[in-house]
């Protein structure tokens, strides 16, 4: 089962966890991204995420394909939120289950690393005195 969504409402860690449960699973690894209160020691007020949604879903689907092929996962749930997020809010949850735990850690790390490289989602950091699109400038 793959449950891949881009949502403009708060994400729920528990429901992502529940989505990947399976009697053959020995372990579930969940990665939860959080909005930090600072970046390079500059105070962040909030974040704004936007996405090219149809392509983002397609790229997330490619990540899921790799998870099944390379790590033999049982199920995966990737939820990414867009819109305006406050400190402590959850922009992304990736949960996956595998028969053995080592594969779950590796697969989950691959999933978030690849998501950050290939999925067309953009984050704008909003400071008290301005805003920047993350990663846009060297």
């Amino acid at each position: 089962m793959r449950d891949i969504k881009i949502l403009d409402t708060p994400l729920n860690t528990q429901s992502c966890h529940d989505a990947v449960e399976d009697p053959a699973a020995g372990g579930i690894v969940v990665f939860v991204g959080l909005v930090r209160n600072q970046t390079k020691s500059r105070q962040v007020v909030r974040l704004a995420f936007e996405s090219y949604v149809p392509m983002a879903l397609k790229e997330m689907d490619k990540i899921a394909d790799s998870l099944y092929e390379k790590w033999g996962i049982l199920h995966v749930c990737i939820h990414h939120r867009i819109g305006v997020l406050d400190i402590g809010d959850i922009p992304v949850v990736i949960a996956l289950s595998t028969p053995h735990r080592q594969a779950a850690f590796e697969a989950c790390q691959y999933a978030i690393d690849t998501l950050k490289e290939t999925v067309p989602i953009w984050k704008k950091e909003i400071f008290k005195d301005g805003a920047v699109w993350v990663s846009a400038h060297p």
Binding site: V92, K123, W133, H137
Partner: protein
């Protein structure tokens, strides 16, 4: 020929619209389009890397555009 240009993130701010129609000479590769944009909007030269997507897939510089293509400018992504 005309292509539909769609922009997200900082690219949207640079071209100052989420979507526009651009007139280019035929043939036009993605590599050529990148040159055109760099000249028309100097700020693109400051961006770390710009990719392009046609039909929701990344395409490389040698990819040839055709009349009416929807070309999406993908500045460096920063999800997660």
């Amino acid at each position: 020929m005309k292509i539909n240009l769609i922009a997200f993130g900082i690219a949207k701010e640079i071209i100052n619209t989420p979507e526009c129609i651009l007139e280019v000479t035929n043939p036009c590769s993605i590599g050529s389009l990148k040159q055109i944009l760099m000249e028309k909007y100097e700020e693109f030269q400051k961006i770390q890397s710009i990719k392009f997507a046609i039909n929701e897939d990344y395409q490389e510089d040698h990819f040839l555009l055709k009349e009416g293509d929807e070309v999406v400018i993908i500045p460096p992504v920063s999800g997660g």
